[in-house]
Symmetry: C2
Subunit: 365 residues, 2 copies
């Protein structure tokens, strides 16, 4: 069974298809979406994903009558760079991509962000289809944020460029390393925590199935996760206000990633710690005790970290957060849960109380 | 006296101010446009323009209470690259530019296109003000096309990003080299030829004043040139159809630039030849003889080239045009004047007749 949902963004609205074995039908979906055969397609993928799925995707599209070119980048965050963008554009030019062409991101968030920015900027914008192959990419493929990194800052050069469609074959997740699975589920849980208590409870009950990549559970979880993100983005496409709630756990999460050195903590792991911290901060601010208990319990069930690695320096963590520009005279903007499934954007959290939580989370077991 | 016109693009509408000595008031204009003082500004300029005008612009803005950073790139087309973009973004990061900051392009089309793409992509898009210092930039500063080049293709990586305002101080044009003046006027004449017979006649009558940088003539010419471009762009922001008429003379012009090697012919010179060729093609297609006579006479008056340098190879020129992708089985899309001030987009021009014109234009005196 194929699940379908729509990201409502006026004339930029687009569908997300989620299903097991969906890739075999990609040609028909492209036709259905009016993607013409007169202009070549470009698939962008990485060195982990390409060897597994490129042949099938390219083959299916070719069988449907499309001309297909491909570009494979090294797997990993380093590929989100302007230099790699220039390489991909070279392939696009050599393959003759024109304004009616479509770029396909076959991979996780790295490939999605990179290929998305290629599509956003090639000839000032051509079409773009996401074929996510990680769980985390249920997050990155909704909302149209695309970007590459600068040596001095992550995701700083980019665009808002909505895809034509997102084409999610849960089968591809079977080859994802276990640690990437758990890290990706962290963002799924986040979508529950900010928006939907019932879905949060469902995640907790189905932790085993999700981590074990049970097909039905995955499809439901991805569908719900995408739905929450789509609902938020529909109300605030360009991150003027509401969209910030998607950053639950991210202020601390980003700081931990930066201080630990990218690699030690996966993004999903870092934000799991960040979400636990936000819950503790909430309780400190007077919100109900169970926010903390439940949040921590869920992440433990998924085998995700809930403590700050003891060797990370508190001072450096705080400094990294201040670098994040959310500080203002000792006050910071923080996404605070007020209950399970509900958050507020609190612009008045004192850096001091954040620091206390950071210290506590390094000491507790 | 300050002339003002509006580029009508719905919520992306913006004003163009044209006046002599306008720079001295830039601070007040920024305030009037609601550009806040809490976030730093970044001026991007080049090695020819910076030494002349950066101090004044930065100084005026600082006096008005703005925090100002600056980045100077080498003058010339080479600066429209991803590598230079990365450098400019480094400066932006070091200066602490945030989502409320504004990028200012102080220079000609090169700086405008580069700084515009920085503004379009920095944090996925921040504000942008154009301060054009060339005549050609009356063209490039209207319409929101911004881009950098790829080693394999010009302007291929970019965006549509409309400025907040265009701030044109005709005083700055006094330092422009004579050859750049004439080349810039070529695009002004183009705006007459595609849209307005009366303005075309005015250009011809005022050739001497324009080339001599007479302030009043310049202001009127720039105002009219910008108005035509604004009218076209308002009807077709994303170049779906009408906007293509702005390419009068450009198919051949780009080919000549490429074959001659960038540098021998300035862009404005190359398209002057291209517009004369289009006029000759028009006559060949049965449109009135005077189109050719008048077009050629005007460009001669401005001291712009009206013949193809004899050493350029016809075959290479034709190949460069085919590379421009406008060919289709021996047919090409060509902007053809049907009278002075009127053009059509003809999708059915035979490559053979273009070739005949090219050959003729190499032989005539
Ligand atoms: N645009 C957004 O809104 C948004 C949101 C969240 C994250 N992101 C970005 O997403 C990126 C992280 O995404 P990610 O976690 O998917 O990273 P990723 O794309 O690097 O994938 C993680 C790893 O799994 C491998 N992989 C992917 N699919 C696989 C499969 N099916 N089988 C085997 N291996 C596979 C990859 O090669 C990589 O080694 C970051 O760059 C982050 O900035 C963007
Ligand atoms: N975005 C668009 O819609 C659009 C339209 C047309 C052209 N363009 C682009 O514009 C560029 C050409 O623009 P341009 O002709 O202004 O080139 P430019 O910016 O290179 O300026 C021409 C030369 O004049 C110098 N200069 C500029 N202002 C000066 C001044 N006031 N005094 C002395 N020297 C000065 C520059 O340093 C340079 O050497 C090309 O890259 C072209 O692709 C863009
Ligand atoms: Zn995240
Ligand atoms: Zn031009």
């Amino acid at each position: 069974m194929i699940k379908e949902l729509t990201v409502n963004l006026g004339e930029r609205s687009y569908p997300i298809y989620i299903g097991e074995g969906l890739l075999s039908e990609i040609g028909a979906y492209f036709e259905k979406h009016g993607i013409g055969k007169g202009s070549p397609l470009l698939i962008v993928t990485d060195t982990h994903v390409g060897p597994k799925y490129l042949k099938e995707v390219a083959g299916r599209l070719e069988s449907a009558g499309y001309k297909v070119a491909a570009h494979t980048v090294d797997s990993g965050e380093k590929s989100k760079s302007l230099a790699v963008l220039e390489d991909v554009v070279a392939t696009a030019l050599e393959a003759g991509l024109d304004r009616k062409s479509t770029v396909i991101a076959l991979g996780g968030g790295v490939v999605g962000d990179l290929a998305g920015f290629v599509a956003a900027s090639y000839m000032r914008g051509i079409r773009f289809v996401q074929v996510p192959t990680t769980i985390l990419a249920h997050d990155s493929s909704v909302g149209g944020k695309v970007a590459v990194n600068h040596p001095l800052a992550k995701n700083i050069i980019g665009a808002f460029h909505q895809p034509e469609m997102v084409f999610y074959d849960t089968q591809t997740l079977q080859s994802l390393p276990d640690r990437e699975v758990r890290a990706g589920l962290s963002e799924m849980i986040k979508h529950g925590l900010i928006w939907d208590a019932e879905f949060t409870a469902w995640c907790e009950e189905n932790a085993g199935k999700l981590v074990g990549l049970d097909s039905e559970a995955l499809q439901h979880g991805l569908y719900m996760g995408c739905s929450v993100k789509a609902a938020v983005v529909s109300k605030d496409e360009r991150e003027n206000d509401l969209r910030a709630i998607l950053n639950l756990g991210h202020t601390l999460g980003h700081a931990l990633e930066a201080v630990a050195g990218y690699g030690e903590l996966l993004h999903g792991e870092a934000i799991a710690i960040g979400m636990v911290a936000a819950a503790k901060l909430a309780v400190k601010l007077g919100y109900p005790e169970h926010i903390d208990t439940v949040t921590e319990r869920i992440f433990r069930k998924f085998g995700l970290p809930v403590r700050i690695p003891a060797h990370l320096d508190t001072h450096e963590i705080m400094r990294a957060m201040m670098h994040d520009k959310k500080f203002n005279e000792g006050k910071m903007v923080y996404i605070i849960p007020t209950d399970i499934g509900k958050v507020v954007i609190d612009k008045n959290v004192s850096a001091e109380s954040v620091k206390q939580i950071v210290n506590r989370m390094k000491q507790e077991d």
